[in-house]
Symmetry: C2
Subunit: 596 residues, 2 copies
């Protein structure tokens, strides 16, 4: 049986030491009243709900799944009560605007809370994720009346949110959507069409469900410039905010899928459902995209949450399971066999997981800092630079973290041998669950195209040079030979990334397919360098006297060993990626379709 | 919906051209009456049963799964009838000894049949796989009476087979098993104990189930030197071969697992069940291992079967699904969007799959040749050399092929975007199914330890030099500059593998953990070089006039493009693996257990 422990010591290490977060928060304008004491209290409470309320449901909820019954969706046993507890704790409103009852906390504090929720039970965690995302878009783009009517109940969790984008023939290419919105005399619209893959689109946990729906006005231009965003509640809401009659939106069925069985994935039918415009006509895609950076970062966080759960479970198993003898002679002499953890190959897998997970955690916090600066800083120049880094790093945080998280969960499952394939042990569920993070919120291929196209080639590497300068500045600030073993390979890898970036920009001019051909490998190359930056920072910090005094010796030892492993074992991947990234698309594009 | 087409053109290319198989068969002693006409007829018939009988069941059988009911196991609808059809076609006896009604065909012909069966419906394919494995061990080690009584019915499929090795506390480490065998006066034994993970251990498709069970005699030495092998039928069989009373072996439950839902994975209880010794007392593990090379190669073949099905499905989707526009301008101008296959990133994934699958197919046939020589050649020296290559290459064929097959199915699923996560489209099942191939029949980590330990370090690289010479000889025989682009990188990669092998042997002397630490990466390095050898051979052959005359232009073009992609895109992985393989275990072994 799997058991989940919140990684509080690592959160504390990253926040208080690596990112000097108290000082960081003080440098911002609004969340100035957050300090480390308050943060520790919030993280401690979140750990409790994750460990005691959500994690115990994870396996049974997966086994039971959701059930569709004549338009209603029944979620697994215990979810409704857990949702209630979650709402009562105020966890839906952490990021919300204080004007409407939200707590207005910084992402650098919310992100660890999200990791715990997702790590404990990802299928459950998608409900608050979608609510927060929908509320974010409403807060950014809706008029005051809509905000006042909907946001307070969404921040409290009484009403949940859903995002209705995809249609059967339109996934990545949203310009193809067909859902229609007919304007009415009272300023509202009637929406008709079918949406698929709607996460938590229908359920009975909340009193209302607020759908944000992409649709086209009758006279809209073709393609993505003709899409508008609408708010469509499951139940209509009167002027006093009371839930009234059922709107013409209904769930036609739910999908059977590989994982996140306990998260209902709905087909939603809109039959002249009443809705209200959010933002400007034909600017729906842009309105939707304002929250995309938050959502995409959160998908990366989900990856870490699940991979951390997988690691904990694999580590426990490796310590307990007796099988074979150590290559250097029996260790547990009184037992018939040694625990798995004596074997080098098992340690290789555990260290791969640990090195990838902890780098990913540091990296999502690193990106969260720039989201906070962009939102809360009073300094326009600082905001601008942070926005550049958010734009550049978000696709990496989404795609690289989740690609590495699949690798990590595969390792976790492998450590269990045959038992890893059996549902009872929980490891195969982690693999099935984490797999969706590589696919939704824009597939990882689409993230890579965003990174290499809009964020690299289009600006001729200008965004990259902002990141490059960040890393260079940090490297130059490091003193002391004891850091050389991290700084030197980081520096070399950074130079590889720089020259590969230049090559990518140059190659893109020769052939329009060159960027697409190397997109995923370029994103991976970037990711390995970003993780090297994180490990260098963690390793240097772990060597400091302050950390040695404040953290357990095992924790400090583990950090250093993981850094060594990362640089010795994982970073060499850069050499292969560089070779690929600098080649052309020729060998892919020349083949005729019939030749595949 | 997924549809499976047997890759007959590729089989024909590999058999008749790359491996000159007719000439090869003529060089052997016994299967001398097989020729290419007969082979084509058998492959054609196998394709029919795979496409028309098995493939249509694959998805519904996964959705329905198996059901345990008071000791009986019900397999999915259609399986019993399919099993009947399979038996009537004589497909269980292909490899069987002609003395007892088998067909005695070479593995080089059986392997493609196995790929088709496994690719069409792996969960079904495990039934004949286990029967063939059990029959193989009986044929090799049982006395004449047992052979005569059991083999004919197993070759006909009237009785199926199962292998009962694992116990709850003993997986990789079979020395720990506790199942007891008490000798009786009549020469039989009474077996008591519990076995888990018994594939097709109980079902109603055949009239009897023949279990091969590892157990210990009361006075057996501890550990793996005290294990004997027993034949335990579900129903006792009288002297005339008639099925009689039920033996004391029963199925206590079946597992819920990640994939192969339609293959029952049973807990088997032996309560003083009657059994007969197979082979010598205390030599059970060795007896079991005589068939291990066949079984392990077949697991690699399963990987290719499933990955091929995934490729076909992804290719069809990439041609049909309209989404986005080509980077070089609209291709399908009359449609709202272009098919996915215009995008370089989609082509990268398709070509990765194609290059990995076709190299894996060539490689399993390459290894199958040595199994055939070892079994059928009259030349002792040739047999000895073939046995060396079987020993060396089998762990690679099992583990590298299946690791690459997981990568391939992940690509196949990714090409489908969100639809890849939905059961209806069949891609997520391929990922779930293929995942077990990395785990069972010895995890891929165990394969790697076998390769680097017994097969490399223990013999100081002697087995490797046999392989090295094989590749060198082929390289030296190639004439013509047009082949340089394959021969040169193959040659370089081979030298890397050679120097890494030497380094591995040297490092193992310094620290007993060094080999284990790099085992999986060494196996992968070896695998990439072996696949490069396969692609060089295929590419050279594809350039020949004979092939251009005999095969479709699209097929030939596809072969060359895949070879180019393999050398340009996949082989560079060697540089990263070399760096890892040549390092020491220090960074893994120094960390205390508490530091993880």
């Amino acid at each position: 049986m799997a058991e989940y422990r919140a990684p509080l010591e690592d959160f504390r290490f990253l926040l208080s030491r690596v990112f000097q977060i108290e000082h960081f928060w003080q440098s911002l304008d609004k969340p100035g009243d957050v300090d480390m004491d308050m943060a520790n209290a919030i993280l401690g409470e979140a750990a409790k709900i994750a460990q005691e309320v959500l994690a115990p449901l994870n396996q049974s909820a997966d086994a039971q799944g959701c059930r569709w019954d004549e338009g209603e969706v029944l979620v697994p046993d215990g979810f409704k009560e857990a949702y209630q507890t979650f709402c009562e704790g105020g966890w839906n409103g952490l990021a919300g605007s204080p004007e409407f009852g939200g707590m207005g906390l910084p992402k650098t504090l919310i992100a660890p809370v999200e990791e715990m929720v997702q790590g404990a039970c990802m299928a459950f965690g998608l409900a608050p994720m979608l609510t927060a995302g929908a509320a974010f878009a409403i807060n950014a783009h809706a008029n005051d009346e809509l905000k006042a009517r909907y946001l307070p109940k969404m921040y409290s969790g009484e009403w949940s949110g859903a995002m209705d984008l995809t249609e059967p023939h339109a996934g990545t290419d949203l310009g193809l959507i067909r859902t229609k919105a007919e304007p009415q005399n009272d300023g509202s619209y009637l929406l008709s069409g079918t949406k698929i893959f709607i996460t938590w689109g229908e359920h009975q946990c909340s009193d209302n469900i607020i759908h944000l729906v992409l649709a086209k006005l009758p006279d809209a231009p073709a393609g993505s410039r003709g899409i508008s965003l609408f708010l469509v509640p499951k139940f209509l809401v009167d002027a006093e905010g009371r839930v009234g009659e059922r709107n013409q939106v209904s769930c036609g069925s739910i999908e059977h899928k590989m994982g996140i069985h306990a998260s209902p994935t709905c087909v939603m039918n809109f039959d002249a459902a009443k809705g209200w415009l959010v933002g400007e006509v034909n600017k729906g895609l842009a309105a939707m995209f304002t929250m995309m950076n938050y959502e995409r970062l959160l998908v990366g966080i989900e990856g870490i949450g699940v991979a951390e759960a997988s690691y904990q479970s694999a580590l426990r198993y490796a310590r307990e399971r007796l099988q074979g003898r150590s290559a250097s002679g029996a260790v547990a002499k009184d037992s018939a066999a040694d625990p798995l953890i004596v074997h080098a190959d098992i340690r290789r897998m555990l260290l791969s997981m640990k090195a990838l997970n902890e780098a990913g955690r540091a990296f999502y916090l690193y990106v969260a800092q720039f989201l906070d600066i962009a939102k809360f800083s009073g300094d326009a120049k600082r905001r601008e630079q942070a926005e550049a880094l958010v734009a550049l790093l978000t696709p990496i945080a989404k795609a690289f973290i989740t690609d590495m998280s699949l690798d990590a969960t595969i390792h976790g499952q492998q450590i269990f041998g045959g038992h890893g394939y059996i549902s009872e042990w929980g490891q195969e569920q982690h693999v099935r669950d984490v797999r969706i993070t590589q696919i939704y919120e824009g597939t990882n291929g689409v993230q890579a195209l965003d990174l290499i196209g809009r964020k690299t080639v289009a600006c001729e590497g200008k965004l990259f040079s902002v990141f490059y300068q960040e890393v260079q500045t940090w490297i130059e600030a490091q003193k002391g030979e004891q850091h050389d073993k991290y700084i030197k390979p980081l520096s070399e890898a950074l130079q590889v990334l720089k020259s590969s970036t230049e090559k990518v920009v140059a190659n893109a001019k020769e052939n329009p397919h060159n960027a697409g051909a190397v997109a995923v490998d370029y994103l991976h190359l970037f990711g390995y360098v970003a993780y090297a930056f994180m490990w260098a920072r963690m390793a240097v910090e772990a060597q400091s006297q302050e950390v040695k005094g404040e953290f357990s010796p095992a924790f400090v030892e583990g950090k250093q060993a993981s850094a060594d492993f990362y640089f010795g074992w994982l970073l060499p991947q850069v050499s292969c990626l560089q070779q690929r990234v600098e080649t052309s698309a020729e060998c892919m594009m020349n083949l005729s379709e019939a030749g595949f």
